[in-house]
Symmetry: C4
Subunit: 126 residues, 4 copies
């Protein structure tokens, strides 16, 4: 597939990692995921910034998605420059040096039965 697939800048306005969950971990840990697909022939160098309601944005968090690979990145796992606080509203921007596709998913396992959401992230016109 020669065609470029995706955008270099994405935004996810929703973000919230519950501080607890139910069910066997890690599959049923409450989590937020950015699913990133890089169909290009070059590695994608990704930078993520996290926005909050009442303080300055934090970042960049740096991640590489190799050429022709996908990465389902859990925001829970981001550590550098700092972990994302739980039970806190946030939003994010995701920038890449090659076009990628980003989809946002949350598993909320705070109650006995899990709830799932997913939506395409917002692609910023290149």
């Amino acid at each position: 597939m020669k065609k470029e697939i995706g955008h270099k800048v994405w935004a996810i306005a929703e973000g919230y990692i519950p501080s607890y969950g139910n069910g066997p971990e890690p599959a049923f840990t409450s989590h937020e995921t950015a699913c990133i697909l890089n169909t290009s022939e070059q590695d994608a160098h990704i930078e993520i910034f996290i926005y909050f309601e009442d303080r300055e944005p934090v970042g960049p968090y740096k991640v590489t998605v190799p050429a022709k690979r996908t990465k389902h990145l859990r925001f829970n796992d981001l550590q550098d420059p700092e972990p994302i606080p739980r039970d806190t509203d946030y939003a994010s921007t995701i920038t890449s040096d090659v076009p990628v596709v980003v989809q946002h998913t949350r598993l909320d396992s705070r109650q006995a039965e899990n709830a799932l959401i997913s939506t395409l992230a917002y692609p910023v016109i290149n």
Copy 2:
């Protein structure tokens, strides 16, 4: 990030706030949320109009999202010019003086286990 991220006009065709819920409040109160991300260097002055099935639109509801901040706005909390009625179908438009990104989420806790939906709002081309 110098690039403008988002649009100045958004629409959410779905809207419905159940009148009751289960679980510890406020986290598990049934609610509708517009998650708004303002990555720009200026405060975003937001105006929301609510559309109904059988009467005139109501608004504007006014909200400010500061520069480089996100706000996860619960429609439940809107009071001026009037609260949004429960158990009533509605829709909304969201306009801003600077580009923002809007995502729509609903937590429905009418039953023992909550249900979540989320989708990107509809961006109107600037």
Copy 3:
């Protein structure tokens, strides 16, 4: 709001109405909904076509969404030219003579706890 909001042609590739549900009706009847928002000053005359896996499309189903109103249309309620069969995969197109915004929602109440999905429909460039 003078600006036109929306598109005149939309498509929803997903469609499936379960034949049963749980919980108090009609709120918890399993249903598929097309939430339509018409912010314009003219009534929107809507035509819906239903596509199936193994037979010819059916339609048009005709609906009017008045000026500056929203309508959350349950596919369950469509009767003319024929009801939509239950437990059957389908898809739909929605055309309007004025621009509208369409969001797709399903409540699945086949099990004790309901599940919800929602996503923006696919806007066809005018």
Copy 4:
């Protein structure tokens, strides 16, 4: 409807088929679905490629969606060139020789109550 509806290239960054589920099969088998709508007068010849985190993409999987028909394709059912592994993160691209519309849905029935997600796939500009 004379107008072309859809795109020829789509991407779904999220993909994950749980290896188990609850409830009567096949309706409640955990599954991932690509709902494809072909409103055109020609059959759509579809090719799907699956991307992984740590190995080369697999494909093409070939499917035909006849003219004026929809197909709700379960990724679980794809067999050739090889079945999609369970409990494994993946992503996909979907290409067609005529414009189609693609929506992504997952039923997760690992717990007693099912969870549903759905979102429009990512349309690549023709």
